[in-house]
C-alpha cells in the first residue's frame, strides 16, 4: 500500500462527497424531516422528566441533547439501512469492481467516508443547530472533548460501514438482500441506543446491547458528547469502537472473499 493508493482513497472520498452534494433540495427536505422527528422525540422523552429528575444518570438537558445528536447521526451512519453494495452484487456490476486495482470494499469505504462527511455537515448539523436554539443542550466544555467526539463519530461511521457491508454481502448468496437489510436496520435501531438510550434499557437488555458493536455507532459518541464518559473512559470508549471497526471490517473482507469465489456473472 503506497501513497498512490491513499491518493486514490482521497479521490474516491471526494467523489462520495460530491455525489450527495449534487442534490441540495433533497438535503433541505431531509433536514426538515429529521428536525420534525427530533421535536417529537424530544417531547416524548421530556415527558419522562415530569415525574423524575434523573433517569439512569440522564437529566432533561442530557436527554434532549441525546435526541438531537441521534437525529444528526441518522444519515451520517445510515441508521435506516443501505443497499448500494448489494445492488452492485445483484446487477453484476461488482465484476467490474473486481478487475480494478483496489479492493471493492476499500473503494466503497473511501466513497462512504466522503459521503458521511457531507451528511454529517449538511444533514447532521442543521437539525442539531435547531435543537440547540430551541432547547438547552449540554455542550462539551473542553476542546479535547470535542476532538474526542469527532474521532468517535469517525469511528462510528467505519463501524457502521463494516456492519452495512456484511448485510450487503449476503447478496452473493440470495437475490433478495432486502430482508437482511431490514433485519440489520432493526438491530442497529434498537441496540445502538438510537430509539431510546441504552442506559434506559432494563439491565439484561443493556448488557445484551453492550455485547454487540451497535452502541459503537450511536450511543458511544453521544456518551462522549454529553460527558457520560470522561477522562480515561473516553480513551476506553474510543478503543472499544476501534476494536469493533477492525473486527467488522475483517469479517466483511472474509465474507466478501467467500462470496466472490461462488460469483457467476453472465454476459460478455
Amino acid at each position: 500500500m503506497g501513497l498512490d493508493t491513499l491518493r486514490l482513497d482521497w479521490e474516491l472520498a471526494r467523489r462520495g462527497y460530491a455525489r450527495y452534494a449534487a442534490y441540495p433540495a433533497a438535503t433541505i427536505a431531509g433536514v426538515f424531516v429529521n428536525t420534525v422527528f427530533g421535536f417529537m422525540r424530544a417531547f416524548i422523552l421530556l415527558a419522562l422528566f415530569e415525574q423524575r429528575d434523573h433517569i439512569a444518570g440522564y437529566d432533561a438537558s442530557a436527554t434532549v441533547t441525546y435526541v438531537w445528536l441521534g437525529q444528526a447521526l441518522i444519515m451520517t451512519i445510515y441508521i435506516f439501512g443501505w443497499q448500494d453494495l448489494a445492488l452492485r452484487i445483484r446487477s453484476g456490476d461488482i465484476a467490474g469492481d473486481l478487475i480494478r486495482p483496489v479492493h471493492p470494499l476499500r473503494a466503497s469505504l473511501a466513497f462512504d467516508l466522503g459521503r458521511a462527511l457531507y451528511h454529517a455537515i449538511y444533514r447532521g448539523l442543521p437539525p442539531l443547530l435547531v435543537g440547540a436554539l430551541v432547547f438547552r443542550l449540554v455542550l462539551p466544555a473542553d476542546p479535547l472533548e470535542w476532538l474526542a467526539f469527532v474521532i468517535s463519530v469517525g469511528l462510528a461511521i467505519v463501524v457502521s460501514y463494516g456492519f452495512r457491508a456484511i448485510y450487503n454481502i449476503v447478496a452473493f448468496w440470495t437475490t433478495d438482500h432486502r430482508g437482511a437489510m431490514f433485519l440489520g436496520a432493526v438491530a442497529v435501531n434498537l441496540f445502538s441506543g438510537f430509539i431510546v438510550p441504552v442506559a434506559f434499557f432494563p439491565d439484561w437488555l443493556a448488557a445484551l446491547a453492550h455485547a454487540t458493536p451497535f452502541p459503537s455507532m450511536v450511543q458511544l459518541p453521544i456518551d462522549i458528547f454529553i460527558g457520560r464518559a470522561t477522562g480515561g473512559e473516553v480513551l476506553g470508549t474510543l478503543a472499544v469502537q476501534l476494536v469493533w471497526a477492525v473486527v467488522l471490517l475483517v469479517i466483511a473482507e472474509r465474507l466478501f472473499a467467500f462470496g466472490v469465489r461462488r460469483l457467476v456473472v453472465q454476459g460478455g
Binding site: 427536505a29 426538515f32 420534525v36 421535536f39 415527558a47 439512569a56 430482508g179
Partner: protein, 270 residues
C-alpha cells in the same frame, strides 16, 4: 354507481394480479413480512422501555398508550398496504411515466393507487393486532354501544385520514421531484406522533400535526372516548367522536389538492 362498481371490480382484478405475483417468491415474501413485523415492533419496544422507567406518560398508563399505539399503527398499516407505494410516485413524474396515465380512460389517482400492493406490509398489521389484543385485554373498558361504535369506526377513519394526508403531501412531487422526502414529515411523522398521547407535545406541534394535519383524530380523541378518560387538554368532548367527519373532510381536501396538482402538471415532454 355503475362506474363505482366497475372501478371496484377493476381494482380487485389488478390487486389480485399483484398479490399473485408477490406470492411467487415465497421465501422473499416470508422474510420481508417478518422484517416488516419487527420494524414495526421497534416503535412498541421504545414505548415499553420508556415505561420501564416511569409508571405513566402524561397521565397515560402503559396499556392506555398501547391502545393509542395499536389504533394508530393499525390504521397506518392498512394505509401503507394500500397506498404505501405512493412514496415511489415522484419517480413516475421524473421518468415521464405519469404522462401515460393521463391518456388512459381511468382516473389518474386510481391508476397510481392500483400500481402496487405490498402484501408484506401485513407484517405490520399483525404486530398492531397483537398490541391491540394486549391493550384491550389489560384495560378494563366499560363497554357501551357508543364506545364500541367509536372503536369500530376509528380504524376506517384513520385509514382515510392517513390516506388523504399521503395523497395531499405527495403532490409536492408535481413541483419538485427532489424535495419529495419532505412529505415523510407528514406521513411517517404523523404516524409516529399519533402513537403517543397528544398532551405530551408542545402546543405548536400539536396544532400543526395534531389538528391542522389531523393526527389527533387517528387515535388520541377516539381513545379518550373509549377509555372514558378526561382529556388532559380539556378540549370539547364532541371532538372525541368527530373522527369519521374529519376523515371525510380530509378526503375532500386531498382529492381537491390532487386535481389541482394534476391540472397544473407540466410534463417534462419527450
Amino acid at each position: 354507481m355503475a362506474e363505482l362498481r366497475e372501478s371496484l371490480s377493476l381494482y380487485r382484478l389488478l390487486i389480485a394480479a399483484r398479490v399473485r405475483a408477490q406470492l411467487q417468491y415465497r421465501t422473499s415474501f416470508a422474510i420481508e413480512t417478518v422484517a416488516a413485523f419487527l420494524v414495526s415492533f421497534l416503535d412498541f419496544v421504545a414505548i415499553l422501555v420508556i415505561f420501564s422507567n416511569v409508571p405513566q406518560l402524561g397521565t397515560w398508563s402503559v396499556a392506555q398508550v398501547a391502545l393509542l399505539y395499536a389504533l394508530a399503527t393499525l390504521s397506518f398499516a392498512f394505509t401503507d398496504l394500500v397506498i404505501g407505494h405512493l412514496d415511489g410516485f415522484p419517480a413516475l413524474i421524473r421518468d415521464g411515466n405519469f404522462d401515460l396515465m393521463l391518456v388512459r380512460p381511468k382516473g389518474t389517482l386510481f391508476q397510481v393507487i392500483t400500481g402496487d400492493f405490498q402484501l408484506r406490509r401485513l407484517g405490520r398489521v399483525a404486530q398492531a393486532l397483537l398490541v391491540l389484543g394486549y391493550a384491550l385485554n389489560t384495560l378494563a373498558i366499560d363497554w357501551t354501544p357508543d364506545r364500541a361504535l367509536v372503536l369500530a369506526l376509528t380504524v376506517p377513519s384513520g385509514v382515510l385520514i392517513y390516506g388523504s394526508v399521503w395523497v395531499a403531501v405527495i403532490c409536492i412531487a408535481f413541483w419538485t421531484v427532489e424535495g419529495r422526502e419532505a412529505a415523510n414529515a407528514f406521513t411517517y411523522g404523523g404516524a409516529f406522533l399519533a402513537q403517543y398521547p397528544m398532551n405530551i407535545f408542545d402546543r405548536w406541534l400539536r396544532r400543526f400535526l395534531g389538528y391542522f394535519v389531523p393526527m389527533a383524530f387517528i387515535a388520541y380523541f377516539p381513545a379518550l372516548h373509549v377509555l372514558g378518560k378526561t382529556d388532559p387538554l380539556g378540549l370539547p368532548a364532541v371532538l372525541q367522536v368527530a373522527s369519521p367527519v374529519v376523515a371525510l373532510a380530509a378526503a375532500v381536501v386531498a382529492s381537491t389538492v390532487w386535481r389541482f396538482a394534476v391540472r397544473h402538471y407540466q410534463s417534462a415532454g419527450g
